[in-house]
C-alpha cells in the first residue's frame, strides 16, 4: 500500500449517527485511499454497515463531514452517491426481479422526461458490453428473478462500473457464495483495485479479509477502534479488537459417547435434486454435511423433515421404518429442523419473541386449546436465560433482535420440543464470532445429551471442529463419508467439487 504518499479519495471526519436517539456511530474518522481494498470488520451492530450506508447515501450522518477528492460533499441519497462515483453493493443485491438484467443495470441513471422513450436497443448493447468487461456470461435480456446471488452481485458490480464508480462498497458479499464464486469475485475486486478504484469490503470471514484486503478498519460499539495494514495484525489481534476481550480457542469438540443409530437414510432419491443418498446418524453424534451451495444438501434435509418428501428410498428413526410425508410426521417422530433462511422459513417476524419460542409446542402451553400466558412466558424466559438470548423483553417482536439472537430463539423453539434428532441447516450463517462460539458450545452440549445431530454447513472450519463425521455432497450425490481425523479442508473440497462427468451443474446452463 502506498497510503501516505497519495491523498485519500474519500475522507470521513467526525461522522456520527443516531437512530431514534440511540447512538450507533460515534465520531468516526477514516481515510480511504485510491487503489486499495479496505476491510471493515466488527460484530453485528458495531457500526460498520451504518458507516458504509452513510458513505453510500442510504443514511445521512447526524454529525460530521465527508470529503471526496478534497471537496466537502453532501451525499443526501443513493442517486447522488452514484453520481459522485460511490456504489454500495448489498449482500442480497437490491434488484427488481421482474425486470431484465439490462434494465436493472440502467435504472437509476436514466435522465430525461418521464415519457421519454426507453432505449431498449442501446440499453441491451451497453449491458452486454459491461458484462463482457467483467468477463461474466449473463444473458442481459433475462429477468433478474432466477439469477444466482453471485450473478446478481455481478450485475451490481457492472452497475457500479456503468457509472464509473471510484468507491465500491461490498457489504458481506461472500456470505451466500460458493468458494468458486468467491474466487471469481476476488479476481474482479483485485482488477478494479489495480485500475485505481477503492473497494470497501465488509465481511465476517477473517481468512477472506486476509486473502483480499490491504488495510482493515475495525469497529466496535459504534467507534472506530483501529485501522491497520492487514499484515500488521494477527487473527487474535483482530478478534480481540472486535469483541473487546480476549477469546479462548472457540472451536472445540468435547468427547461424547456415541450410541445406537437414531436416523438411517437409505437410497433416498428425489428426481433432479438428489440421488441414492444413504447415511446414518447415531445418538450423541454430530454428522456434518458439506458441499457447495446447490449440491442438494438442503433438499435432503427437507426430505427428511417431510417438507418435500423423497420419491423413493427409506428413512428409519430409532430402528423403525418411518413414513414422513409432512413436517407434522417428522415432528411426531422427534425430528427438528432449523432451516437455512430464518427470515423466510424460521421466524414469525412481527410476533413477540416468547410466542416464537413456544411456537413448536402448542400442546405444552395450551393443554386444552387455551394458551396459558404465564406458562408461555416462563418457558420463554427459561430458554432466554439458558441460551443467553439478548433482548429487551420477551414481548419484543423477534424481528427486532439481531440475527444471532433470532437464530438462538429458533434453536430454543426446537429444544422445547425436545427432539431426539436435530437437523441444522447453516445455523451460524451471518452471525457474530462471539455468538458463534456460544452456538458451537450449545451444539456440543446437545450431542453430549444423546441427541443425533445433522449439521449442514458451508464453513469448513466449522465442520472440522464440530463433527464426528463429515458427509460431502456434490451434484445431488453423496461423494464422501469422512471420519474425524480423515476430514480436512482438502479432502472435503476434493469431494465437493463437481467432477463434470457430463451433468450440467446449474440452472444457468439449462434454463
Amino acid at each position: 500500500m502506498t497510503a501516505g504518499t497519495t491523498s485519500p479519495v474519500l475522507s470521513a471526519r467526525g461522522i456520527g449517527k443516531q437512530f431514534a436517539g440511540v447512538e450507533v456511530l460515534r465520531d468516526v474518522d477514516l481515510d480511504l485511499m485510491p487503489g486499495e481494498i479496505h476491510a471493515l470488520l466488527g460484530e453485528n451492530g458495531a457500526g460498520k454497515s451504518t458507516f458504509a450506508k452513510i458513505v453510500a447515501g442510504v443514511h445521512r450522518p447526524s454529525r460530521g463531514v465527508l470529503t471526496l477528492n478534497g471537496q466537502v460533499v453532501d451525499v443526501a441519497n443513493p442517486i447522488i452517491a452514484q453520481r459522485l462515483g460511490i456504489t454500495l453493493i448489498h449482500q442480497e443485491p437490491i434488484s427488481f426481479p421482474d425486470l431484465s438484467v439490462a434494465e436493472n443495470l440502467i435504472l437509476g441513471r436514466q435522465d430525461g422526461a418521464a415519457l421519454g422513450a426507453v432505449p431498449w436497443r442501446q440499453m441491451t448493447r451497453d449491458a452486454q458490453g459491461l458484462m463482457a468487461l467483467l468477463g461474466v456470461a449473463i444473458d442481459v435480456g433475462r429477468p433478474m428473478r432466477g439469477l444466482s446471488i453471485a450473478d446478481q452481485q455481478m450485475v451490481e458490480i457492472a452497475r457500479a462500473l456503468a457509472s464509473d464508480s471510484r468507491v465500491i462498497i461490498m457489504d458481506e458479499p461472500t456470505a451466500p457464495l460458493t468458494p468458486k464464486e468467491v474466487a471469481t469475485l476476488f479476481t474482479i475486486a483485485r482488477r478494479l483495485r489495480d485500475e485505481g478504484r477503492t473497494i470497501v469490503f465488509i465481511s465476517h470471514r477473517l481468512e477472506e479479509v486476509r486473502a483480499l484486503c490491504d488495510r482493515v478498519t475495525i469497529f466496535r460499539d459504534g467507534n472506530r477502534v483501529a485501522t491497520e495494514g492487514i499484515a500488521d495484525l494477527t487473527d487474535a489481534d483482530i478478534i480481540r479488537l472486535m469483541i473487546g476481550r480476549p477469546v479462548k480457542e472457540y472451536m472445540h469438540k468435547r468427547g461424547t459417547e456415541i450410541g445406537e443409530v437414531a436416523l438411517r437414510v437409505s437410497n433416498l432419491t428425489r428426481a433432479g435434486l438428489f440421488h441414492d443418498i444413504s447415511f446414518e446418524v447415531r445418538k450423541g453424534e454430530i454428522v456434518g454435511l458439506g458441499g457447495l451451495v446447490g449440491a442438494g444438501r438442503t433438499d435432503v434435509a427437507q426430505a427428511i423433515f417431510g417438507i418435500a418428501p423423497a420419491d423413493s428410498g427409506t428413512i428409519e428413526v430409532h430402528g423403525k421404518r418411518a413414513q414422513i410425508a409432512s413436517p407434522v410426521d417428522a415432528i411426531g417422530l422427534g425430528i427438528a429442523f432449523v432451516p437455512e433462511d430464518r427470515a423466510v422459513a424460521g421466524i414469525f417476524r412481527s410476533l413477540p419473541t416468547d410466542q416464537n419460542i413456544t411456537a413448536a409446542v402448542p400442546r405444552k402451553i395450551a393443554p386444552f386449546g387455551m394458551i396459558k400466558a404465564g406458562l408461555e412466558r416462563a418457558m420463554a424466559l427459561d430458554a432466554v436465560s439458558r441460551l443467553r438470548i439478548r433482548l429487551a423483553s420477551v414481548r419484543q417482536p423477534i424481528g427486532e433482535l439481531s440475527g444471532g439472537n433470532q437464530q438462538k430463539a429458533i434453536l430454543a423453539r426446537w429444544l422445547l420440543a425436545d427432539p431426539s434428532i436435530l437437523v441444522l441447516d447453516e445455523p451460524t450463517r451471518g452471525i457474530d464470532i462471539g455468538v458463534k462460539a456460544e452456538f458451537y458450545d450449545m451444539i456440543g452440549d446437545l450431542a453430549a445429551n444423546g441427541r443425533a445431530i445433522l449439521l449442514i454447513s458451508s464453513e469448513l472450519p466449522e465442520l472440522l471442529a464440530l463433527c464426528d463425521r463429515v458427509l460431502v455432497m456434490a451434484e445431488g450425490r453423496l461423494t464422501a463419508n469422512l471420519a474425524r481425523g480423515v476430514a480436512s479442508q482438502e479432502t472435503i473440497m476434493q469431494a465437493a467439487v463437481p467432477k463434470g462427468d457430463g451433468l450440467a451443474r446449474s440452472g444457468k446452463a439449462a434454463a
Binding site: V58, N77, P78, I79, I94, S95, F96, P97, D98, L99, S100, E103, L107, G108, Q110, G112, A113, A114, L115, G116, A117, V118, W120, D139, G141, R142, P143, G146, A271, G272, L273, G294, G296, E475, G476, L503, A504, R505, S506, G507, A510, A511
Partner: protein, 329 residues
C-alpha cells in the same frame, strides 16, 4: 427468445387456449354462438371492462389496487349526464373532457391518500368507493339521467362508425390498450411502474419517485374510469346513480387477474390483460344464450373466474416443477 419471454408467451397462450376451448364447447351446444352476431355481442360487452382493466393493470403492477373504479365510473358518467341535461347548449364532446378530467382528479385524490398518509390502497379505495358513490347520489339528487337527455351522436358511437360499421367504442377501447402497451413498454415512467411493484424497497434507492409513480397510476386509473363513464352513457343511453358502474371493479379485477397480472405487483402484460377481458366477455355472452337464468348467472360467472384461476395455477405449478427439474442434474 429468452426463457422469460417463453413463460410469458406460454401464459398468454394458455388464456387464448381457454378462450378457444370455451367458445367451441358452448358452440357445440348452441351453434349460433359461433357466428359473427355473437362476436359483435362480445365485442360490445368488452370495451368498458377493457378500458377499466388497463387502468387497473397499471395500479396492480405498482403493487396497489383500485376498488373505487366503479364509483368513479358512476360519478363521472353522472357529471357528464347532468351537463347534457342542464346545459344542452354545450357541445356534446365536452362530456369526454368532463368525465376524463373529473376521473383523473378523483384518481389523484386516491393516490394522494395512499402516498401522503401511507395508507394501504385497498382501504383508501374501499373508502372512496363509498364516498364517490355517495357524492353521485348527492349531486344527482338520486335522479336518473334518462335517454332523451343523452346526445344521440354520443349514443351512436356505440352503434356504428364509418369504418365497416364497427362501433367507435370498440376502436376506442383497443386504442387504449395499444396506448397502454406503448406506455408500459417504451416510456421511462412505464418501466418505473414495473420496478416499483417488483421491489418497492429498492425503487427509491434507485432514484424512482415512489410518490410520482403512485400518483400517476391512480390518476390514469381514474381518468380511464372517467372514459368508461362517458362511454357507459354512450352504450346504455342513461346514467343511474345507483346502478351505473356498480360492481364494475369486480369484473375488471377478475379480468386483469385472469389475464395474468400479479396481485403482488411487477408482473403482467397488456396482451394478457386483453385476453383476460375477452375471456370474460365470452362468458358473459354465452350465459344468456345457454338459457341460464339471470338469477344464477352471477354464481356461474364467479365460478368461471375461480376455475380460470385454478387452471392457471395448476399449469404454472407444473411449469415450475418442470423447470426446476430440468435445471438440476
Amino acid at each position: 427468445m429468452t426463457g422469460w419471454r417463453h413463460i410469458l408467451l406460454r401464459r398468454e397462450a394458455g388464456i387464448a387456449v381457454m378462450i378457444v376451448l370455451f367458445c367451441l364447447s358452448v358452440g357445440a351446444v348452441k351453434p349460433q354462438f359461433l357466428t359473427l352476431d355473437s362476436l359483435r355481442i362480445i365485442l360490445l360487452l368488452v370495451p368498458l371492462i377493457m378500458i377499466g382493466a388497463m387502468g387497473q393493470m397499471l395500479v396492480l403492477l405498482a403493487r396497489h389496487v383500485d376498488l373505487s373504479i366503479g364509483s368513479m365510473l358512476g360519478l363521472t358518467a353522472m357529471a357528464s349526464g347532468m351537463m347534457f341535461r342542464y346545459m344542452p347548449e354545450v357541445w356534446w364532446p365536452v362530456g369526454f373532457l368532463v368525465s376524463v378530467g373529473l376521473g383523473a382528479v378523483l384518481g389523484l385524490f386516491n393516490g394522494a391518500l395512499v402516498t401522503v398518509f401511507r395508507l394501504p390502497a385497498i382501504i383508501v379505495t374501499l373508502g372512496t368507493l363509498n364516498l364517490y358513490r355517495g357524492l353521485t347520489f348527492i349531486m344527482s339528487d338520486a335522479k336518473q339521467i334518462d335517454r332523451q337527455y343523452v346526445p344521440s351522436a354520443l349514443k351512436s358511437m356505440s352503434v356504428t362508425s364509418p369504418i365497416f360499421g364497427i362501433p367507435w367504442i370498440i376502436f376506442i377501447s383497443f386504442g387504449v390498450a395499444i396506448l397502454t402497451y406503448w406506455f408500459v413498454m417504451h416510456t421511462r415512467i412505464g418501466r418505473q411502474i414495473y420496478a416499483l411493484g417488483s421491489n418497492p424497497v429498492a425503487a427509491p434507492l434507485r432514484g424512482i419517485s415512489v410518490t410520482k409513480v403512485t400518483l400517476v397510476v391512480f390518476a390514469i386509473s381514474g381518468a380511464l374510469s372517467g372514459l368508461a363513464g362517458i362511454l357507459y352513457a354512450s352504450r346504455w343511453g342513461f346514467v343511474n346513480p345507483s346502478n351505473t358502474g356498480s360492481g364494475f371493479e369486480l369484473q375488471v379485477i377478475a379480468a386483469v387477474v385472469i389475464g395474468g397480472v400479479s396481485i403482488n405487483g411487477g408482473v403482467g402484460t397488456v396482451a394478457g390483460t386483453v385476453l383476460g377481458v375477452v375471456l370474460l366477455g365470452c362468458v358473459s355472452a354465452a350465459l344468456p344464450l345457454l338459457g341460464i337464468p339471470g338469477t344464477t348467472q352471477s354464481a356461474i360467472y364467479g365460478a368461471v373466474i375461480l376455475l380460470a384461476l385454478m387452471i392457471d395455477r395448476l399449469v404454472r405449478m407444473q411449469g415450475m416443477a418442470r423447470s426446476t427439474r430440468a435445471a438440476v442434474p
